[in-house]
């Protein structure tokens, strides 16, 4: 098969290319189930480092982390200066079908997992993996007013069953974006905020109605069973009465009319609505709501509008002017996903005041900062560079690293799976020849779910 053959050859392309850490094809990916990684510095989590430690990986999971571990028989031994958790792009579209990512007609029930493109060229995936980005948050309709349910997806050379870490890691929405060239229009954008708040409220009511229905139904059942028992009991009598009445009627030559039967109407359930089903989970805090919003006006009214939903877990994406509300964000513990890219001019209104210092200033104000590549296809590969740029503009290294690992994982509900090097977690980790995020540092190996996917 001309091309089947060719694709294999192609997959090896980057190997020869050199610059990127050499890629191993799927063959090595199935390599030994046991990996033993030794490093001068093991970043268990930002701020928690084990010197001259090691990580033991078995069947895709981290089974031991510590200073005095010994490599078990037949374990594949790897070593480097630094080992840390793989990076998470909290705002990406890599591996997501482009049409679905930009779709403006999505609704909360739209599922990102239905739009994952399994057929992204393996070489492109390896480029991204080689840069250390092992997982990403993808969202269908990420710039639509009502985006769909987002997914936290592991980046694999050949996506398999384990690619999706969490099929519903959030719900996306956006307000005040420039759409079809229509820029700043305060009424439009505030209207969008109201709509969003409204649909959260709908979700909440839907939830209430469902609970109310459960209760009512229970009561009704109880009542009706009692009534029925009653009726059973009185049946003989009822039958007598009936015969009597029938006789009477006959004598009077009248036509017999049975007694009119009455009972309480059975309560009916709320109309099923797939979108409200999702918004109910959002309102109930089961799913974080990631809202792309930039300008101060929209930010304020969004915060105001959502204040009453005490369970809601709000996450801001973008937030160009988030500094104006930093205190409230910090106080309400609302994380902000910052896209630290140098933007030129002219630029869309909502980005007018965006600058690289945002991440640092938000951190200083006590806001949890996450980092992402703004849903720009392919940009995930450059996430570490953008993170470094943010550090260059005031973000602390520690928070930058946390943003790419622990904090991202925690915010998107996969903290128990990835984000740190702890026993029991999935083995998504990087081996580097220097400190993470230093531009001079090279990533020598990348391990995804226990498979050595980059490096020899």
């Amino acid at each position: 098969m001309l091309t089947l053959a060719s694709l294999v050859t192609l997959a090896l392309g980057p190997v020869l290319a050199g610059p990127l850490p050499s890629a191993t094809g799927s063959r090595e990916a199935e390599a030994p189930a046991v990996l033993f990684v030794r490093a001068e510095r093991v970043y268990v989590r930002p701020g928690e480092v084990i010197d001259n430690g090691a990580v033991l990986v078995r069947d895709g999971r981290i089974v031991a982390v510590g200073r005095d571990l010994v490599a078990p028989e037949g374990a594949r031994k790897l070593s480097g200066k630094v080992v840390c958790a793989g990076f998470v792009d909290a705002w990406s579209s890599f591996g997501l079908d482009a049409g679905s990512a930009d779709d403006q007609r999505t609704s909360p029930a739209t599922r990102t997992v239905d739009a994952l493109n399994e057929y992204v060229d393996p070489r492109l995936r390896l480029e991204v993996l080689g840069a250390g980005v092992t997982a990403a948050r993808l969202n269908a309709g990420s710039s639509s007013r009502e985006g769909g349910v987002g997914a936290l997806v592991r980046n694999r050379p050949e996506p398999g069953a384990d690619a999706v870490l969490l099929g519903d890691c959030c719900v996306a929405a956006s307000v005040g974006l420039t759409r079809e060239g229509r820029g700043r229009d305060v009424f439009d954008s505030l209207g969008e905020v109201d709509k969003l708040v409204g649909s959260i409220a709908d979700g909440l009511n839907y939830l209430r109605d469902k609970n109310d229905y459960k209760v009512d139904l229970e009561e009704w059942r109880k009542a009706i069973t009692e009534k029925e028992a009653e009726l059973e009991k009185d049946f003989k009598k009822a039958k007598k009465d009936r015969e009597k009445d029938e006789k009477e009627a006959e004598e009077k030559g009248k036509e017999y009319k049975p007694k009119k039967y009455k009972e309480d109407k059975k309560p009916s359930p709320p109309r099923y609505d797939e979108d409200k089903e999702v918004m109910a989970r959002v309102a109930n805090g089961e799913l974080p709501l990631v809202v792309q919003v930039h300008r101060c006006a929209e930010l304020r009214s969004l915060l105001e509008g959502t204040e009453r939903f005490d369970r809601l877990r709000l996450v801001i994406a973008g937030g160009s002017e988030a500094m104006d509300v930093a205190d409230e964000l910090a106080e309400r513990d609302i994380p902000v996903i910052v896209w630290p890219a140098p933007l030129g001019r002219p630029r869309p209104d909502e980005f007018e005041d965006a600058d690289l210092g945002l991440a640092g200033r938000l951190e200083a104000a006590g806001v949890t900062v996450l980092l992402g590549t703004g849903g720009q296809a392919g940009a995930s590969r450059d996430l570490p560079l953008l993170a470094a740029l943010a550090v260059g503009h005031g973000l602390t290294r520690r928070q930058a690293l946390a943003a790419l690992t622990t904090d991202a994982a925690a915010t998107l509900d996969v903290g128990d799976r990835i984000g740190s090097l702890e026993t029991g977690k999935d083995a998504d980790l990087l081996i580097l020849d220097g400190e993470p995020l230093a531009s001079s540092t090279r990533i020598t190996h990348v391990i995804s779910h226990g498979d050595l996917v980059v490096g020899q």
């Binding site: 060719s6 192609l10 090896l12 190997v15 020869l16 290319a17």
Partner: protein, 412 residues
């Protein structure tokens, strides 16, 4: 296979392929065995082996077995590399000088994009030599160039014959963008012909002016020399003529030049879809004919209708006949398929083979280098899985200037 190879290179060794994919020393000596070797000019050689060295054909020997060394290739049949005179690849709108409707001095070679991926498609489909002309937005668009479809990444390095033909067009295409000037003309399209009559007039006027400029510098104009080279018969004039009235225009033009004693243009009628309509006129003109790709339902460009037996008809008139695929990448419409269609229309295999090899080579005067399997010619060869042009066989190997462009050997 070759794609695989080349992609791998391109993806991997930027350095290597940057110096041109073919920069690195590679094998150019082959022993190519075919159960049948069709030379196109001589007779068919059973179990022939074509010896290739240094990019040239050294000779063919019959009754051989064929080896399986690292430099031997095998196939059911071997033919010369195919030649397409109307390939329409590598020269886009950016290659047409539309500020003039008559631009004989424009050299298409300057505009050819050798990196156009369609070249690779052409090469792999067995077309090894092609005439490139600018799209026909001008009445006289300039000078076409004959190039190899694969090789060093540079026009000059690929050129077989520069300025091989003067290209012109009759019919609706040179005029369709133009419009009469209403009020103040805001672009030069308002100064250009808007009808077939206008086009026809521009064509004749150009040559009369050129003839008048003979030997007088003040009457000379850009391209007058090129136009005169056509009148002197040293360079063929290739005209796009889809419909029968365009063919008439071309032939009457030729006859007018002759009767006026201005010269003897050598006509190549390109895209002559309706060549079948007026056989006598065509025969009288002795013009060479390049047929457009067979339109599966007869109807084709410029509202012309082409019949399946057109090729047979032109051939039976004794006129030089070439087929072309207009660069179609569709495996069902490439040049080998066109030969198949011609045979479906009644053309003999031998004639079909010549119509895609030696005949077009002769039309543009490159038959000394390509178009047949003869000792001393360029090693441009096509290897087939079965009888060439049969729907149920295909091109499995291609060699251009001795370089393996498509490898017939299994990849494993």
């Amino acid at each position: 296979m070759s794609t695989a190879m080349r992609s791998a290179l391109a993806a991997g060794l930027v350095l290597a392929c940057s110096a041109g994919l073919f920069a690195q020393e590679e094998q150019r000596d082959w022993k190519i065995f075919g159960e049948k070797v069709y030379t196109a000019t001589g007779d068919v050689i059973e179990n022939g082996t074509v010896a290739v060295a240094g990019g040239k054909i050294r000779g063919v020997t019959g009754g051989t077995r064929g080896g399986d060394g690292k430099n031997s290739l095998r196939a059911a049949a071997v033919t010369p590399g195919m030649v397409d005179l109307s390939v329409r690849v590598g020269a886009g709108t950016d290659s047409v000088e539309q500020s003039r409707e008559v631009a004989p001095d424009m050299r298409t070679a300057e505009s050819v994009d050798v990196f156009d991926v369609d070249w690779d498609v052409q090469a792999r489909s067995g077309v090894t030599t092609a005439l490139v002309c600018a799209p026909d937005f001008d009445v006289i668009g300039g000078l076409g160039v004959v190039v190899k479809t694969a090789g060093p990444s540079g026009v000059r390095a690929r050129t077989v014959k520069a300025d091989a033909v003067l290209r012109g067009a009759i019919g609706s295409q040179p005029s369709f963008r133009n419009h009469p000037a209403f009020g103040r003309p805001d672009d030069f399209f308002s100064r250009r012909p808007t009808t077939r009559m206008g086009v026809e007039w521009e064509l004749r006027k150009a040559f009369y002016d050129a003839a008048a400029a003979r030997g007088s510098d003040e009457r000379a104009f850009p391209g007058s020399d090129e136009l005169r080279s056509v009148l002197e018969g040293t360079r063929p004039l290739m005209l796009q003529t889809w419909t029968t009235q365009d063919i008439r225009t071309a032939i009457f033009f030729k006859e007018e030049m002759e009767s006026e004693g201005l010269g003897h243009p050598r006509l190549i009628l390109d895209a002559a879809a309706e060549a079948w309509k007026e056989p006598d006129l065509l025969a009288r003109s002795g013009a060479a004919v390049v047929l457009p790709p067979y339109p599966l339902d007869g109807r084709t460009s410029d509202n012309s209708f082409m019949t399946l037996d057109s090729a047979k008809l032109v051939h039976d008139l004794g006129l030089p006949l070439a087929l072309s695929a207009h660069g179609s990448g569709d495996p069902a419409a490439r040049l080998d398929r066109q030969a198949g269609f011609a045979m479906r229309g009644g053309l003999s295999f031998e004639a079909a083979l010549q119509a895609v090899t030696i005949a077009p080579a002769r039309m543009v005067g490159v038959d000394d280098r390509v178009g047949s399997i003869e000792a001393g010619k360029d090693a441009d060869l096509v290897l087939w899985s079965g009888t060439p042009f049969e729907t149920s066989s295909r091109v499995i190997g291609v060699v251009i200037d001795g370089r393996l462009v498509l490898d017939p050997r299994p990849t494993e």
